[in-house]
Symmetry: C2
Subunit: 361 residues, 2 copies
């Protein structure tokens, strides 16, 4: 049974060129006068300080396909389904977005084709362009042999995934059987972390902001009836669903007890969050512990979970480490959550991805 | 084995008088010219509209102890450990806060004493007063025979529970072996729910805002070292910990991979979130589904979970309903999560609370 990593990011050269040409978030900056600073990647407004340690170090692991393959070999990963890291192409000027998206997606397709059988990809949509251009790119992506869906953030066209203006995009994705890999980026407003947040490094926005953002986004999709209108639309939700498996019961109860929704006739004629979790949602297994992973399995089923690493993020702090702890935490959680059920564990480690993403076996 | 409800709110008469005397959040408003509107309770700024349907209806179930006892009898609840509902006394003018807190706590103690054996309570602290006054009230509460800890929101003295100015309060609570019942109120900024949030009634702030607020608050306590300084401080976290059991692995991984924390020497010499969950945190079982409840049990242990109802919130929308679905969802989740283990289920339904809160058996 192959091991497949469905949550693993790469910046193709076409995207690196874009980042290096910029000086506002997102961008990559070099410091010729301070070579020890190395190149830095700044993708969150909160990281955008004036120092040479702004953002995070960015090396070849972000853009050199040899590094990805070496990482895969170290961790016994047979296939990676790569996606652009956040913030994708959300920030592109509208008039050039469609053309840039084609260039970036073609560059990703090239990388996959050059390493046949090892790399597949989720494409990226030019969401700042017109809806027509977005739909065109969805249709074009189906002609690229290594594309297996698209990666998308929670902003949509700018006002969230419950925006009815997204309907033509959802319709096209549903029609083309293209899965959305839904990934956070925007987090929560810094005020929620309080005045001492910087004492805690990046822990609060990364550990909590990301999954909470994701949970809100999926719940807004649910409440706006996206899955009532597009019952075959499939979404792979990052980080085991944010916190959706844990909160599904509370969400259902809050809907069932809401006087406004009752008055609007929206309580009875709707699909439940449990139904969505079991028919439309796939979850990656990027949750770093068996407690959360078991809840994800309970909510969506062991046949809907897919192993992931989040590479190249969360590298070991010990420079001599060979294996990445962020990876082994996730692979150990799969074994531990499934107890002795090797078949189910193998499915999560790769079998499910091979089936769901139509990978050659 | 008794059934004990540890998450159940009451406004004693002394608190109702306060709410009725106000016209800014929190307050209770009557509409003499529109008697059909009934009395309305407005506790969230987002609910504070100009209409006669602002906030939520408030009836005797909020303040009449007979209603609480009838609710308990209907649902076979032997003992309720009542607490003031949010926003407690956070908003009191500083100069009168200490005296008001004494009056409110004495009124709660009187209600409990008048129904010996059925009612115990968490007291409320005058957090807007000086720290000395707060500590005095903690010490005074230990002399009231039905008090079993204190209820607290996530604001603390105004800037969160990771505020070092809270240390004398934590020290007093630890010394007096008084548990904190940590409960959300402030939610998240409305912007995170997007421009269509009001279409969804109160679902997003109630279903997500509350547990996400709680998770951030507990994680800030953890990161600021509260439990390193006060290793015996116990916290009963509302709504099964917000989302803490599900996200504990991600929080631990983000800490272990944080370059800033490593530089500060804060990664190795610290207690893990798992350690806190198993030694300092208790969780209520207010999560409305077995998926979440199992994760809570996996994280903290079946001996640390305690049944709750959140009464009088989430009443049935069907006026003819006798049993409250919000209650039966939680009691069924306990049975389902524990499978056939009746002993563990009985412990969660009341045995744990009897032991942890020193209730007469």
């Amino acid at each position: 049974m192959p091991v497949v990593d469905v949550h693993t990011h790469m910046y193709p050269p076409a995207y690196m060129d874009l980042l290096r040409s910029r000086d506002t978030v997102p961008y990559v900056k070099s410091f010729p006068d301070h070579p020890s600073a190395g190149d830095r990647l700044i993708i969150l407004p909160a990281e955008d300080t004036a120092s040479t340690s702004r953002g995070r170090p960015i090396g070849k692991e972000y853009y050199d396909v040899k590094e990805k393959l070496a990482f895969m070999d170290t961790h016994d990963i047979d296939v990676s389904v790569i996606s652009l890291a956040n913030p994708w192409l959300d920030w592109l000027p509208p008039d050039s977005a469609a053309e840039t998206a084609r260039r970036v997606n073609d560059d990703v397709e090239r990388m996959c084709a050059e390493h046949e059988g090892r790399l597949y990809a989720f494409g990226t949509l030019p969401l700042s362009a017109s809806v027509e251009h977005v739909v065109e790119e969805i249709e074009r992506l189906t002609t690229l042999p290594h594309m297996r869906g698209i990666v998308m953030g929670t902003s949509g066209l700018g006002s969230g995934l419950d925006d009815p203006a997204l309907d033509p995009i959802y319709a096209a994705l549903e029609k083309e059987k293209q899965l959305i890999f839904l990934h956070p980026h925007y987090g929560l407003p810094n005020a929620v972390y309080g005045e001492r947040a910087s004492d805690y490094g990046h822990v609060l926005p990364l550990a909590l902001g990301f999954p909470l953002e994701t949970t809100i986004a999926v719940t807004r999709m649910l409440l706006s009836g996206v899955w009532d209108r597009f019952p075959e639309l499939n979404v792979l939700v990052a980080h085991s669903g944010g916190t959706l498996p844990f909160l599904a019961g509370r969400i259902e109860s809050c809907i069932a007890h809401d006087a406004h929704l009752k008055k609007e006739g929206k309580i009875t004629n709707r699909r439940s969050v449990w139904d969505i979790l079991r028919k439309n949602v796939y979850l990656d297994a990027v949750i770093y512990a068996d407690v959360g992973l078991k809840a994800a399995i309970d909510a969506s089923g062991a046949d809907r979970l897919m192993f992931g690493t989040d590479h190249p993020f969360f590298p070991p702090l010990d420079e001599n480490a060979v294996e990445w702890e962020s990876v082994t935490l996730n692979s150990k959680a799969v074994k531990s959550a499934l107890g002795g059920n090797k078949e189910a564990a193998d499915a999560i480690m790769g079998g499910n991805a091979a089936r769901i993403l139509r990978l050659p076996s």
